[in-house]
Subunit: 232 residues, 2 copies
DNA sequence: CAGCTCAATATTGTACACAATCTTGACCGG
DNA sequence: CCGGTCAAGATTGTGTACAATATTGAGCTG
């Protein structure tokens, strides 16, 4: 890890607020609270062992990132998602990541190509190890994340990275690989290798087309057997 | 100057944080502080007449919207804009608003078409009145904003509106009309009318093409005679 | 019994005091 | 004279008390 002595994402505050943010976010990713649950500032403050002030900062960040919904004088609720949210998010990802791949094809540098290749190697090694144990596939998520981030940043649009981060609805996307069938994992790895080839040959249209296929395939896996809540 | 802290409106429950947010945002849009200026919580609290707590909430929102930069234990600075930022933002607007127009063409409802027509009427009335007085063109901004928002929401993608807002609400986009030449204002009004026609005929490709032209034209006006700061 | 009123309670919003951290500038040594 | 060091001041981060507002549920009314 590089020298990051403190929260560095631009909205971080002090130490307590960061800790509260990390703890609450981790609970949300573990589905600790069902959708619609009110997160009470006092209770969180007691559980985490800080005052309400840093809790409020943490909750505001989680609202901004789409984990929670906020209402004045009422507070925060855990956000649920339905078919409509998944459709919206994947639709936007198709637009934005395809745009990123198209631009990256003519801008990416050799060092970034090398990073992508190494990430492919690492992901395939994880796949190899996880053949009978789907839980191990969770290790793919951070590698896949970095793969896409390298392409996003190679696109050379300063605002694209934060926009894409705000679109990617973490609670949902984080578990994508769990829904994949084994052959879909293989196909995903193939897409990654093909993307590297397309980018390396500076072929913008090819790069964009592979990325579009890649995200469509993820959408199908996400929608399969999905059970959605009733939205009020 | 005119900040009266008691009973500022008829609603009676004006939240201090909302009021602080509105006041600071208004100052930022009026270029009250040069880029790089530190906004001190204590001073803002004194000027606005509330405590630091709602000021901090307002500053967090403005950081999230891209008006300010934040550093831990240092506070907020007014964000400056360079050529790279403008390129990035208009590039993203082209992608996202074109996507919105393409989708809206087959989803927009008669009531929304009517709204767009009325907004065109209102904008053209403002243009008429402002022929010799470019300052009056600032009145176009909220109308133009609503025009684009109607199309964005007609696209039927739940996540698109906040994403576009986070890209578009940048301070410089809000001042676009001041940079337009008179014939460019006319062309912009023409684009709006053409968009309504394209949407009304449910022609997705036509709608997308007009929107793309519309934003390209705005980009050219924004870049003309622009003087950029030296970025650190 | 359904629906409403309204007071008691619970929860968020704000103010303020203190702690932690950064910034500034004088002082010192080379 | 220049650069580093460190203490004093300035500014943000956190804790806590109180005010404003929403929620809840009992009691009332038709």
């Amino acid at each position: 890890m590089t020298g990051r002595k403190r929260d560095d994402d631009g909205t971080g505050h002090g130490h307590s607020a960061d800790r509260a943010y990390a703890i609450i976010r981790s609970g949300l990713l573990r589905d600790e609270w069902p959708a619609g649950t009110r997160l009470l500032e006092t209770e969180l403050a007691r559980r985490i062992g800080v005052s309400r002030t840093p809790i409020r900062d943490a909750l505001r960040r989680l609202v901004n990132e789409g984990f929670l919904e906020y209402a004045a004088n009422v507070g925060c609720r855990v956000r649920g998602w339905g078919r409509n949210d998944i459709d919206s998010i994947f639709d936007l990802r198709i637009e934005l990541e395809t745009y990123a791949a198209r631009r990256a094809a003519t801008r990416i540098r050799p060092g970034e190509i090398r990073q992508l290749t190494e990430l492919c190697d690492a992901m395939e090694a994880v796949v190899e190890r996880s053949l009978g144990l789907p839980e191990l596939r969770d290790e793919l998520t951070p590698l896949n994340d970095r793969f896409h981030t390298v392409i996003t940043e190679a696109a050379g649009n300063a605002r694209l990275t934060p926009v894409l981060a705000s679109v990617t609805f973490a609670p949902m996307v984080l578990r994508t690989f769990r829904r994949y069938r084994e052959e879909e994992v293989m196909r995903s790895m193939g897409h990654h290798r093909e993307l590297v080839s397309a980018l390396e040959s500076a072929n913008a249209d090819w790069s964009a087309a592979v990325m579009r296929s890649h995200i469509h395939a993820g959408y199908v896996a996400m929608m399969r057997d999905a059970v959605f809540e009733i939205e009020p």
